[in-house]
């Protein structure tokens, strides 16, 4: 056993940290916190990351990456999550590039990956539909072959990033025969294609997501990624392979909360002197250590081979439920101060951001496989319990 990073990894971490310290400006934070995704500051920041190859560190150098390991990617994200807890996901860099690298044609790799790597383009995930939430095999948007194109018709929902991304990473039905999950395929669709309508949907946290309607949208056949009708497998493989869950954003939440309790008096006493609060904060530090370990274990597994799906499920359940506990612990410690949103007056900036996070991240135990689905997976794949 060995639980330390190599000196090279530590040096890389320092480099990332220094970069973030200078590049994460108040303007950028404010823009991201608006809930609207990438704006001018965001795109600029992304291009700076791209310049260093940090958007897609694991992609080979010839396509714009660093050819680095899972560890470097994880370290990079640990640092980003810590300094910038509400950070936007890069779907293009984190999800699309690795899949295209694995299953795409050479032409597709050359066309998309370098631009993703440079931070020029972003993708929006096109998975969820009104009737296909946890049950992704029920995707119903239809792609029908016609000449050199697929004609796509149907609807997606909760498709975050569609309003600022250039491309849709679309999972659509190409066959209605046999089992439902055997008829799906992946397409890259320019979001400015004629026939696409994007309507905003708003979460209670003020984040924008979207409904997307396809009305006879023509998608060239060369935009099919991977094998036709294997889209469900590609989707599942990608989930297993690419998932990572740094918990440094939770560490950041705890650190900020500690600053708050050290600096705040209530009823004539510093909050930090309250034994109940001390217990709550200590429990958080404990839980974070567990989450950190589970996260490192996944990276180690990824670095060696493919991790079993149940291991990422364990991590996903633990981390997302821990996030929720953090925001509840925070409000219990902070009292009414804790239920203020961060545009408003409050004696410490932490009040607002934890609250912002509370509203924005409630979805985390639901999306990308709900906690219930994850627990099914843990039982069935991790412990071999029979399917019901």
């Amino acid at each position: 056993m060995d639980f330390k990073f190599t000196p090279e990894q530590e040096a890389f971490r320092k480099e990332v940290r220094a970069f973030l310290k200078s590049e994460v400006t108040d303007e950028l934070v404010e823009e991201v916190n608006s809930g609207l995704g990438l704006g001018p500051a965001g795109w600029e920041y992304v291009r700076k990351l791209g310049k260093r190859g940090w958007l897609v560190p694991m992609i080979p150098k010839e396509y714009g990456g660093l050819g680095a390991s899972f560890w470097e990617r994880f370290i990079l994200n640990e640092e980003i999550y810590y300094c910038f807890p509400e950070f936007i996901q890069y779907f293009g860099a984190n999800i699309v590039a690795p899949i295209v690298m694995e299953i795409g044609t050479e032409e597709q790799k050359k066309e998309y990956i370098p631009r993703i790597a440079r931070g020029e383009i972003e993708f929006a995930l096109g998975y969820t539909e009104p009737q296909a939430g946890s049950d992704l095999a029920s995707i119903d948007i239809r792609a029908v072959e016609q000449d050199d194109c697929y004609i796509v018709n149907g609807q997606k929902t909760y498709n975050t990033a569609c309003h600022y991304a250039q491309y849709h990473w679309l999972n659509a039905r190409t066959s209605t025969e046999g089992k439902k999950y055997k008829g799906l395929s992946f397409f890259i669709v320019p979001l400015d294609s004629p026939g696409i309508t994007i309507n905003p949907m708003w979460t209670m946290g003020g984040e924008r997501t979207n409904e997307v309607f396809y009305d006879n949208v023509k998608v060239p056949k060369k935009n099919l990624v991977g094998q036709k009708n294997r889209g469900f497998y590609h989707m599942m493989d990608a989930l297993d392979h690419e998932r990572m869950f740094p918990i440094t954003h939770i560490q950041r939440g705890l650190d900020d909360l500690i600053k708050y309790v050290k600096g705040t008096e209530r009823n004539g006493k510093l909050l930090i002197e309250d034994p109940l609060i001390r217990q709550k904060l200590a429990q958080f530090a404990i839980d974070i250590e567990v989450g950190r370990g589970m996260g490192y274990r996944i990276v180690w597994l990824q670095d060696h081979s493919k991790p079993g799906g149940h291991e990422t499920s364990i991590l996903k359940v633990f981390v997302t439920e821990l996030e929720r506990r953090l925001t509840y612990t925070a409000v219990h410690i902070m009292g009414q101060q804790g239920a203020l949103r961060y545009q408003s007056y409050c004696s410490s900036p932490i009040a607002g951001w934890l609250e912002h996070w509370f509203l924005a991240d409630t979805r985390r135990t639901i999306s990308a496989g709900s906690s219930e689905i994850q627990r099914n997976i843990i039982a069935q794949r991790g412990l071999g319990l029979p399917r019901s």
Binding site: T128, D135, R266, N267, S344, Y345, S347
Partner: protein, 371 residues
């Protein structure tokens, strides 16, 4: 023992449900969250016509002289709606405290108006670093001739920005004193806070605000003892309001589970969803018993300070569990602004820490148990 409401209370409940369904649709709730005032004058007027603001006020002051239990019935429906605006502030923070401590003249003047919905009341109790604690209060009131001069900053004052009178707790020579302050007095500044719940709370700055001596409520320096008598009841009122919200959450969640298909099944047929819903129901039923039993005790004049703290502690915690499971079962639908679940999810968070968190209440329960 009798667990049912009386026939009159059932009628009140039905009337409230019907009225709020018609006059307080979710579109209005949504609008009032965005609205700076957060208060519909139209709705307020209609509620006044029904006599709701006079529900707990004695007949001699123009009220209906209903019981605390009657008020509980109404508040549950308001929590269910969920009703925006200053009803809770006026009736629970204002009237209930005035009933406890006001003298005959004060009652005559203010309760009569409040009963008719002519004035909006609220209470300025806490400060940024003082939470239900008289000793750490820094707002002061200094006697000067026939007046007191109040200076200091109060926090988390609900609906202060639309109130006509604020009951302000301030430090005087040897304790805390309650003052009834006209919000038109010079030196008062209200800053609206943005809460997670979308309700309206204010920071209220008192900058040498003059208050006539006759506006002192009860005796000088004894203000905190009044607060201590009133607070447990106010906690129960808040608990009942929360109960309405989680009852609605339970019902909408069960309905969703009976309607939503995934994996070719109604999701309500999945055991995990069934158990989530069961856990919600256990918590809602537990909350209901505690809240109504103690509301009944208050109505009957049975000593119940411990039971009040017990109720707020349990309801605060239980309601959190309920709304978390409600969003979990309702999935994406539950967290979108256009849905209704999110109202209850956000409001629960504000309500659970208002008027005493569960940690605070547990310590109070321990004290009442002579631990």
């Amino acid at each position: 023992m009798e667990f049912n409401l009386s026939e009159e209370q059932e009628m009140l409940k039905k009337m409230a449900r019907d009225f709020l369904t018609e006059n307080c649709p979710k579109s209005l709730v949504r609008e009032m969250e965005e609205d700076e005032k957060g208060h519909s004058v139209e709705l307020w007027r209609k509620m006044a016509e029904l006599g709701w603001m006079g529900l707990i006020i004695p007949e001699e002051y123009g009220g209906i002289e209903g019981s605390f239990l009657d008020l509980a019935v109404l508040l549950e429906e308001m929590g269910r709606a969920p009703l925006p605006g200053p009803f809770f502030s006026t009736v629970v923070l204002g009237e209930l405290l005035l009933l406890e401590v006001g003298n005959k003249e004060q009652k005559q003047e203010y309760l009569t108006k409040a009963a008719q919905g002519q004035v909006i009341l609220t209470l300025a109790l806490n400060e940024a670093e003082s939470d239900l604690d008289p000793d750490s209060m820094t707002t002061t009131a200094v006697a000067k001739g026939d007046e007191y001069i109040i200076s200091g900053t109060k926090m988390f004052v609900p609906d202060a920005h639309v109130s006509d009178y604020i009951i302000c707790a301030a430090r005087t020579s040897e304790g805390v004193t309650l003052f009834l302050v006209d919000t038109k007095s010079s030196g008062i500044q209200c800053n609206l806070l943005q809460t997670t719940g979308g309700d309206k709370q204010c920071e209220v700055v008192f900058n040498e605000v003059k208050v006539p001596t006759k506006n002192i409520l009860g005796e000088v320096n004894k203000g905190w003892s009044y607060i201590e008598r009133w607070l447990p009841k106010a906690m129960v009122a808040k608990s009942v309001e929360i109960l309405g919200g989680i009852q609605e959450t339970l019902e909408m969640t069960a309905d969703y589970a009976k309607d939503r298909m995934q994996f070719d099944q109604l999701i309500g047929s999945f055991q995990a969803i069934q158990h989530h819903c069961s856990n919600m129901m256990i918590d809602v039923n537990g909350s209901r018993f505690l809240a109504y039993r103690v509301a009944w005790m208050i109505s009957e004049g049975i000593p119940c300070t411990k039971e009040c703290y017990i109720t707020k502690a349990w309801v605060s915690d239980a309601s959190q569990r309920v709304v978390v499971l409600g969003t979990q079962v309702q999935g994406g639908t539950g967290i979108m602004k256009e849905g209704n679940m999110q109202f209850y999810f956000r409001r629960q968070r504000v309500a659970e820490v208002m008027l005493g968190s569960s940690d605070f209440c547990r310590e109070k329960v321990a004290q009442e148990m002579h631990l």
